[in-house]
């Protein structure tokens, strides 16, 4: 359970941590788009350099970033093998009825790299930005949607609560798991059915506690007169600093470079 890095903040003192969340959101978006623009090797080379620089600047240990990839290993394997075997072109070798092609291999390679970069790119955002900053940034960036009736504040609030609860619930899961293991529960061995059954002593208390927490939170928010986003001010309003301007310039340069490289 502790392996979930997606959506988890890694505290460190780096330029990336200090950037305005809006800058980081924009940066992530630009990076993701650039990955889809890039077709050939040069584009990916630039993206790799950019990503490496960002990782180094973030001061988050590489092992921590890579851990987020565990979640997509299966997806990665499936998409890569589909690409290798299901693309038409010059065959390299055959595996029974399956035929691997050079074009497929090429495609699979880029596909895999793109998928990995996508995940790393977005985990860097969440690793260097606290959930609160992240939703503040989202709320502000998407504020224009309010005009067409999208409840931006409410959505942002729900997101921040959901994100805030991930570590609490993982901790809770850990605790309940240990308590049941102390009573001899076995969460590891056995087939699928046995494993699913073994989850009951974990899930029932977990759900009960999640509902209890949700109830408590709602009560606490109401007790402090929370009434939605209308007229609500911020304790720490977001301000762009000089470093944000520089970051935007670097981003623009990167993006132009990627377009040229394509």
């Amino acid at each position: 359970m502790r392996e979930i890095t997606l959506g988890q903040y890694y505290p460190a003192d780096s330029v990336l941590h200090r950037l305005d969340p809006r800058t980081k959101l924009a940066g992530t978006l630009v990076f993701l788009i650039s990955l889809f623009i890039a077709k050939g090797f040069p584009g990916y080379a630039v993206a790799t350099v950019f990503l490496a620089a960002v990782i180094i600047m973030s001061k988050v240990p590489l092992s921590f970033i890579v851990r987020g990839l565990k979640a997509i290993v299966i997806l990665l394997l499936i998409s890569v093998s589909f690409n290798i075997f299901l693309t038409d072109g010059t065959p390299i070798f055959t595996l029974g009825p399956l035929k691997a092609t050079r074009e497929g291999l090429n495609l699979a390679l880029f596909m895999g790299v793109r998928l990995i970069y996508l995940v790393i790119g977005s985990s860097i955002l969440t690793l260097t930005t606290t959930p609160n900053q992240l939703t503040d940034g989202l709320e502000k960036s998407l504020g224009f949607l309010k005009k067409i009736g999208v409840p931006v504040h409410e959505i942002a609030m729900m997101m921040s609560i959901a994100l805030r609860f991930i570590p609490i619930l993982t901790e809770e899961t850990d605790k309940i798991m240990k308590a049941q293991m102390a009573r001899g529960a076995d969460f590891e061995s056995g087939g699928i059915i046995k494993k699913a059954k073994a989850m009951i002593p974990l899930l029932v208390p977990l759900f009960i506690s999640a509902f209890r927490r949700a109830g408590d939170l709602a009560m606490a928010m109401e007790a402090r007169c929370y009434h939605g986003g209308e007229g609500r001010t911020k304790l720490r309003p977001l301000h762009y600093e000089r470093r944000d301007v520089i970051a935007y310039i670097i981003l623009a340069v990167y993006f132009v470079l990627m377009i040229i490289m394509k």
Binding site: Y10, K175, Q180, R183, G184
Partner: protein, 298 residues
């Protein structure tokens, strides 16, 4: 200094049940969230002893006790149970967990079954007992823990906090453990409930010669029940000795954010005021004795 104290105060006649050697635990080793829960802790606990574990919030008590049944793996050192290294390859940890019963902080949140009886049967069933056998064990445990028969077929979620706590304790007792580790079993209960639970536990220990480790924030409780007291501070074992010995170090205890039992302070004040009382009395009973004696009423 401490290691010295710990080893020499263990009663010669007791067989050693649990031994910790240079136990160290670091959470999230190698990341920015790295936190040293405790370092280089060694001690021995004999069969049938009642051990009190005290320490300031965050001193590593909960982390330490979770090593005793192998729920947490140490980052250094090891634990011996009955002379066997529990972290060596192939050691049957599940069996160990039936022998070293552990009641966590706020154990009522782990209840999950439809009825109280079924919930208490969970442990024995996991240990491979047959349905009937488990039922018998559960009934015995519920009686021991003081849960009345009228509640056995209730849903555990309909009970009060204190009753849930008892059911949770019964859930561990039903496995017939040789060692019972309780992490603040009385936290959040009313005074009567507190005393009731602690008395039940202490009586159990005596009756079945169970070794008990009680983590508590109440100096008065540990003074009253414990044979020896383990004092943790910032991840170090600073004292492990009899209540008299530990509570004679009032100043050191206060320095690490703890205190002595209220009775100890009273005795000290009385002695300072000239009444010839025994300043090592730290339970109400002992205090009563020595005050009466000092007043010449006995």
């Amino acid at each position: 200094m401490c290691l010295h104290l710990c080893l020499c105060t263990l009663h010669e006649s007791l067989t050693i049940m649990i031994e910790a050697k240079n136990l160290t635990h670091v959470y999230n080793e190698g990341t920015a969230m790295e936190s040293h829960a405790f370092e280089d802790v060694s001690f021995r606990i004999g069969r049938g002893e009642f051990i009190g574990v005290i320490g300031h919030t965050g001193s590593g008590k909960s982390t330490l006790i979770q090593h005793l049944n192998g729920l947490l793996k140490p980052t250094g050192g090891t634990v011996y149970y009955d002379g066997e290294d529990i972290f060596k390859k192939g050691y049957d940890l599940r069996k160990l967990r039936s022998k070293v019963g552990m009641v966590f902080q706020y154990p009522e949140y782990q209840l999950f079954e439809e009825t109280v009886l079924r919930d208490v049967m969970f442990g024995p069933m996991n240990m491979g007992a047959a349905e009937e056998e488990a039922k018998e064990a559960a009934k015995r445990a519920l009686t021991l823990a003081g849960v009345g028969e009228e509640f056995w077929e209730h849903s555990p979620f309909e009970l009060s906090g204190g009753q849930k706590r008892r059911v949770a304790i019964a859930g561990v007792l039903s496995m017939d453990p040789e060692v019972l580790v309780l992490d603040e079993p009385a936290a959040g209960l009313d005074p009567a409930g507190r005393e009731d639970i602690l008395n039940t536990v202490a009586a159990l220990g005596k009756k079945k010669n169970i070794t008990i480790l009680l983590v508590s924030h109440s100096m008065d409780d540990v003074a009253q029940y414990a044979d020896r007291i383990m004092v943790l501070s910032k991840g170090k074992l600073v004292f492990f000795d009899t209540p008299e010995e530990v509570f004679s170090h009032v100043e050191e205890l206060e320095e690490i954010g703890l205190s002595a039992p209220q009775i100890t302070y009273l005795m000290r004040d009385l002695a300072a005021a000239g009444l010839p009382v025994d300043v090592n009395a730290n339970t109400v009973e002992e205090a009563r004795e020595t005050i009466l004696k000092a007043l010449g009423k006995k």
